[in-house]
């Protein structure tokens, strides 16, 4: 508690009960300066206005301005940090006060009386809502003063489904289902090929009668025989190639290739 009646201390607990009980006008002359306790400069102004202990309609704006500026001044003297909006309000109120005191004909529009009126109207509206909140929260409240049934059985709503389906959906589902699950039969075609066995047989027989190097292609069956079937020719080449490798592995033939992907030559192995 300071000499001039200002009390810088903990704010009144801004809790519901203190709030419900009464608006903070009844705190006596000591002013609790705790800006966290105010909801902004307008709130502080309203509280100061209430301290004039007259109807809000009859407050003196000049006196209110003095109180606000004095209050902020004392807070600054105590090096309390003030939020910018409190200082902006103080500056604006100082301007308003000087305008109110100036001779009328030097004034510009809007008149300071208009500004004071608007401030007055705002304070009245905030004051009205503050009182309304207090009266609202002073009512009997469910869970505090009134109680509903503690263990209600509950009303059950059983949902019954009404299923719906179009006949087209039904039939097309079936058609698509059958199309989807129609058995797919995979058949491997019976192709005309030269088997490895016949290639081995043919290569061995031909190698036995020639001693010089010969290209693999010369061992293939005469083209006339398969002229109409290039796939059979490819099959004969592949089988003959594998047969040549097999004969080389068994030591019955020698292989020679002069360059990569070049013609493959073979001859009977020297005994």
């Amino acid at each position: 508690m300071t000499a001039d009646g200002l009390l810088f201390g903990n704010p009144p607990a801004p809790d519901e009960e203190a709030w419900d009980a009464a608006a903070p006008v009844e705190r006596g002359t000591a002013l609790y300066l705790e800006l966290d306790g105010w909801e902004g400069p307008l709130d502080l102004l309203l509280d100061l206005a209430r301290r004039q202990k007259v109807d809000l309609k009859a407050i003196s704006i000049l006196a209110l301005v003095d109180q606000y500026i004095g209050y902020i001044g004392r807070a600054e003297a105590l090096k309390l940090e003030l939020a910018a909006d409190y200082l902006v309000m103080a500056a604006w109120l100082a301007y308003l006060k000087s305008a109110l005191l100036l001779p009328r004909d030097e004034q510009e529009q809007p008149s300071p009386e208009d500004l004071a009126l608007r401030l007055h109207l705002r304070l009245q509206r905030l004051g009205a809502m503050r009182e309304a909140a207090a009266r609202l929260f002073a009512r009997d409240r469910v869970g505090r003063d009134l109680f509903v049934r503690g263990a209600p059985e509950g009303l059950r709503v059983d949902r019954r489904n009404l299923w719906h389906c179009e006949w087209f959906a039904l039939v097309s589902a079936y058609g698509q289902l059958r199309a989807r699950t129609e058995p797919v039969v995979h058949m491997v075609r019976d192709r005309s090929v030269m088997t490895l066995e016949s290639a081995l047989e043919r290569l061995s027989a031909l190698l036995g009668v020639r001693v010089e190097w010969m290209e693999l292609r010369d061992f293939l069956p005469p083209t006339g025989e398969f002229a109409d079937d290039p796939r059979r020719q490819r099959s004969a080449l592949a089988s003959s190639f594998v047969a040549a490798l097999e004969l080389a592995r068994l030591g019955k033939a020698e292989l020679r290739q002069d360059e990569t992907f070049g013609p493959l030559h073979l001859r009977l192995a020297a005994a």
């Binding site: 902004g40 109207l121 705002r122 905030l126 809502m129 503050r130 009266r135 009997d140 505090r144």
Partner: protein, 203 residues
Amino acid sequence: MPDDLTRAVEAALFAAEQPLTAEALSAHLGGASVGPALVELAAHYAERGVRLVEHGERWQFQTAPDLAHLLRREREQVRRLSRAATEVLAIVAYHEPVSRAEIEAIRGVQTSPGTLDVLMEAGWVRVTGRREVPGRPVIYATTPDFLSHFGLASRQDLPGIDDLKAAGLLDPVDDAFERLTDETRAERDDGTAAPLELPDESA
């Protein structure tokens, strides 16, 4: 002995976990007309330890107010609200529907985002739409649960709302200002004035 429909309405309201409208009750009871039964039950319970009350057109049983001191529990079930939240709730209730900017114009401070969230989480405030002005701000209003919680039959039942309306205290400052200055101007025959804003009004 009450008739079967009255007994059924009584049982359904006892069993319900939420307040019920007459329509919901009727739907539950096969479309019966429940109005007379509700009136009869409300009269029957008027002086008992339990009352049948209607809030926001929804009916429910609750304990009688004069027994509050006997029934208070160690652990309070009510939500403790900040002062800001109680004020915002009052502003929404008395002015609804109302936008955040309108709430802030009355309070003179910004409303922290959590404040309206707390009120919506409590089920007392909801978004009812958007104001058809530039920016289309969302607008807030109170819910039937708000009326039930505070024991209000309707918003007309809000304490002092008629006086506030009559005094123009629910009108915006601009409207009240113009009304008052028009009156004085008519007397003074002054020129027109563009009102200068209070610093935090323009913020």
